[in-house]
Each structure stands twice: as structure tokens, then as C-alpha cells.
Point group: C2
Chain length 262, copies 2
DNA sequence: GGTCATAATTTATCATAATAAATTTGGAAA
DNA sequence: TTTCCAAATTTATTATGATAAATTATGACC
């Protein structure tokens, strides 16, 4: 059978009773969303300009503008000035989606072990599925990333940089996932971890053995991916996750108090 | 060690060069975000009122209002009229977070097998971890949900209703997850599947055996969860996932073209 | 003390005008 | 004809002020 593609839906955009409670800008924004969906507009397709919407919806300029800001904040439209300008549909970027989701978890106090529990479930399976399917360019990139830091860090700042590089390696693999949902979740976790401000305890010297094993894991993982050895890739990734988790746990997390922004 | 809690961060809210390009409402919204973060404001804490922000930021009323709409659209603030009203911090609701994330996937054409690949990775592990940890109330609720439909559906509409009930069962389990990230992702998938408009092929009679097995799975799963038999719970859930997947694949998906709304 | 009408407060919406940004157009120069 | 600069045009952006709507606070009254 053909590939069933799936889209979010909610049949009732405006409940008749609730319609009164929602502010007019929100109502207008919802109508525009419906308008986009009905016509199956895609990225780049233009919306009516400001003046047209004012007459179309019978509301004031300010109301229309607030509605557009709502849609813009969600990443659904982009707006330009000048002739041929106006608003047009703009598909939500991955970065923006991660920021918006990050706002949700800002209030949730995720723990490191929460994140690593998920990573251990997802990333080994991902690389198992990916083995033998990566194109040459991706493999070259991954190999380059794996070899980027030939020596252990000599300072906390350098160690943090290496940590971020390692997470970029994982995000790069996630980008190669055919399953966009899987790829997104893994990238999101990498982003959360990247945005953390992590400081090694001062009295704890960098652990050369742990570092060396992490590096070897990456290199062996790329090899396994290239050879198409899924089970090995999975095993390496799982081992790597466990190592990374214990390294993280050996460090102090300075709690980051910032909303994600794109 | 104490539980490391983790928060999203981005160190550079306003890049100096980009600051000029962003519209004033966006800049104001960012400043308010920073204001909230610096003071570590929490849900319910009040923001300055409109008039104060106008003087504070030296912009017009319209600009402030657009900024508030941006923050409101992201679920970060709520606004009320009247004395004692104004804007206050409001933590992003799960529903809103799912809607915003749904907007991202609206353009991505996820496939059913993408979703089920994820479900098979996550849900069996979740119930394995949850076995023996659920409180009595949750178990009662789950058992009630599992027994809700004692007979196979006699019409496509009834079948769809049963399908939605089944997904609510899974969402209820996800809500019990200690790991909020894991729970969110599972709930999100349940929501996507719930919002689908699914119609059984007309020439294909409801399959009583498949239905019966799905129902038995739910009941046995609750038993295993109560007894604390993690491995069995995992096995049941995996089998259930596979059954659900094949049932979904045996149906026609009317592609749902709608944005999620809260 | 409870209830109801009224006042006060705050956001919500509207209307209008001026400003700024971006693109197109027109014309002069090569 | 082509190139390039400047004016005109289109569109969003910002600003200001006035009015409406919603909510809470107040106080008179029973």
C-alpha cells in the first residue's frame, strides 16, 4: 500500500460557545490558519495583505497585526515590507520548534537521567536502522567530526567544547534519520544538553580513559555504520550512552535559567 | 548526588547585529523574557501593566500589545482585564506545547510507520519501568478504561471511537511516567493518532479477532503493571503495538489537513 | 452579614495618520 | 541596448488618541 502520511488535525477549530471568550486577534489567527489549510497553501504561498484582511475580517488594523504576530510567533508565517511583500506561509523551522518545545520544559525541571533514559532507548535503535544506509557525504562528515579532537581537553573550557562537539555528532546522525519524529526528538535532546552550562568539579581531573573511550566509540560507530553492521552500531551507541551519562553525572550542572530562543 | 535538573538555555538572546533586523515587538518580547528569567518569575507572577511597559520600553501601545501577543501565543503569559488584571507568567500547558509541535510536523508528512517505530521503542520500555510503581487510583482508572468497550464495534463510527479510547488508555499511562520527556513524546504520538481521521475500508469487515486481542492486551497489561512484572508488561505492550500497527495499516487514512489547536 | 448597583481599573478594540522599508519603475548616461 | 541611479509606489511599522468591554473593588442598603 502507499505510504500513509499523517497530519495533525483537530476538527473543531472554533467551538461555538468558546468563540466568544477568545480574543479577536486569536479568532482572526485561527481563521487564517483554516484558510491556509483549506487551500492547502505551502511554504512561500502568499496571504492577503494587511488592508485586504482588515476588510475581509471587518476588524481594525491593530487586531490584524496582533493576529499576524501570533502566527509569526508560532513560525507559521513570515512578513515582508515593500511591493510584492506582505505575509506568506513559512513552514516551521526545526530550530523554532525546538525553542517552543523548550519553553514547555523550562518549567518542568527535567533531570539528566530523564534525558539519558530516552537517549538510551532511541539512539541505539536509530543507528541500527541507519547502518548501511548513509550516503558518502554524511559518512565523511561524521568521520571528520569524530576525529576533530585528537587530544583530551586540558581545561574545563576545552572540555566543554569537546562535549558540545560530541553532541553535534549525535545531532548530525539524527538529521540523517528517515523518521523525522525520531530525528527531531534526538536533536532536541542534544540541544538541551548543548545549552547546559556544565562545569567539571574542580577537584576532579579530566578522566583520560573515559575521554579516549568516548572518542573510540565515535570512530568505531562510523565504521559500523559504513559497513552496515546494525547490531554492532547499536551496541556501540548503547555503550557510548552509558559512558556519556556517567561523565555527565560526574559533573556539576549549573542550572540554566533562560528561555530558548531561535 | 542531588538530582541534576536541566533547563533549556541560550546564552545570546539578542545578537548585537541581528537586533536591528528584528521587529520592535519581537525585541520587546525578548526583553520581557529576559526580565522574567532574570527575576526567576514563576507561574502567576505579575508583569508590569501595559502603560508601565510603554514608558519602560519607550514604544507605543500597539508595539507592546503585539509583543504580548507573541508571548501569549507561545504560552508564556496570560492576560486578564480589570482591576488586578494585566499580564502574568503562565507555564506552557502540555496541550499548547503539543499544538506548537504539531505545527512543525504539519509540514513534514510523517508516516504511520514513523510513529509506530517510535511507539515500539518507547512504550514497552515505559511500562517496564512503570510496573509496580502505579498508585491505586491510576490502576483503577486504567482498568476502567480497558473494560470500557466490552463488544466489538458494529459501525465505522463506533470503531473509531474505540480506537480513540485505546489511545486515551496509552495517553493515561504516559501521564503516569516519572520521566516528563518520555511521557510528553508518547502523549504527543497518541494525540497525532487521535486527531487522524481514520476510516476502515468499506469492503473490509471489522476483524473480531484483532479487536479481542487488543482488548485482552490492555487488561493483561494492567494486571502486569499492578503485579510489578516489568518484563511481561514490556512484552505485552510490544505485541500490542505490533497489533495496533497492522490494524492501522489495514485501514485507509483520510489525510487530515488541519493545524492542531489547544 | 449578605446583596446588589455603581465606580474604578485595566485590557481590548478601533480609527487615523505619519513613518520606514523594500521593490519597482523610469529615465539618464554609457 | 544596457546599466545604474533616483523617484515613485507598495507595503508593513510605529504612534496617538478615543471608545468599548470586562473584571474587580466599593459602598449603600436591607
Amino acid at each position: 500500500m502507499t505510504k500513509n502520511t499523517v497530519r495533525p488535525i483537530s476538527p473543531k477549530i472554533s467551538d461555538a460557545p468558546r468563540a466568544q471568550k477568545r480574543s479577536r486577534p486569536v479568532q482572526v489567527a485561527d481563521q487564517i490558519k483554516r484558510w491556509v489549510v483549506e487551500r492547502d497553501l505551502r511554504k512561500g504561498d502568499k496571504l492577503p495583505n494587511e488592508a485586504a484582511m482588515i476588510t475581509q475580517f471587518g476588524v481594525s488594523k491593530g487586531t490584524v497585526r496582533e493576529a499576524m504576530r501570533i502566527l509569526e510567533a508560532q513560525g507559521l508565517i513570515v512578513t515582508k515590507t515593500g511591493p510584492g511583500g506582505g505575509s506568506s506561509v513559512g513552514e516551521v523551522s526545526k530550530d523554532r520548534a525546538m525553542s517552543l518545545l523548550g519553553n514547555y520544559f523550562y518549567f518542568k525541571d527535567l533531570s539528566l537521567s530523564d534525558i539519558y533514559q530516552m537517549r538510551k532507548m532511541l539512539e541505539p535503535e536509530l543507528v541500527a536502522h541507519l547502518a548501511g544506509k548513509l550516503d558518502a557525504e554524511t559518512l565523511v562528515t561524521l568521520r571528520e567530526m569524530a576525529h576533530r579532537h585528537p587530544e583530551p581537553a586540558r581545561s574545563p573550557e576545552e572540555e566543554k567544547q569537546q562535549h558540545i562537539s560530541s553532541l553535534a555528532f549525535h545531532a548530525r546522525i539524527a538529521d540523517a534519520a528517515e523518521n523525522e519524529l525520531l530525528g527531531f526528538v534526538i536533536s532536541f535532546m542534544a540541544r538541551i544538553l548543548t545549552d547546559l552550562t556544565v562545569y567539571r568539579r574542580l577537584y576532579e581531573a579530566p578522566n583520560r580513559e573515559l575521554w579516549e573511550r568516548g572518542r573510540r566509540h565515535q570512530i568505531e560507530l562510523v565504521d559500523a555504520l559504513e559497513r552496515g553492521d546494525g547490531p554492532l552500531a547499536r551496541a556501540i551507541m548503547l555503550s557510548h550512552m552509558e559512558g556519556a551519562e556517567s561523565m555527565m553525572n560526574a559533573q556539576e550542572i549549573r542550572i540554566a535559567r533562560e528561555f530558548m530562543v531561535e
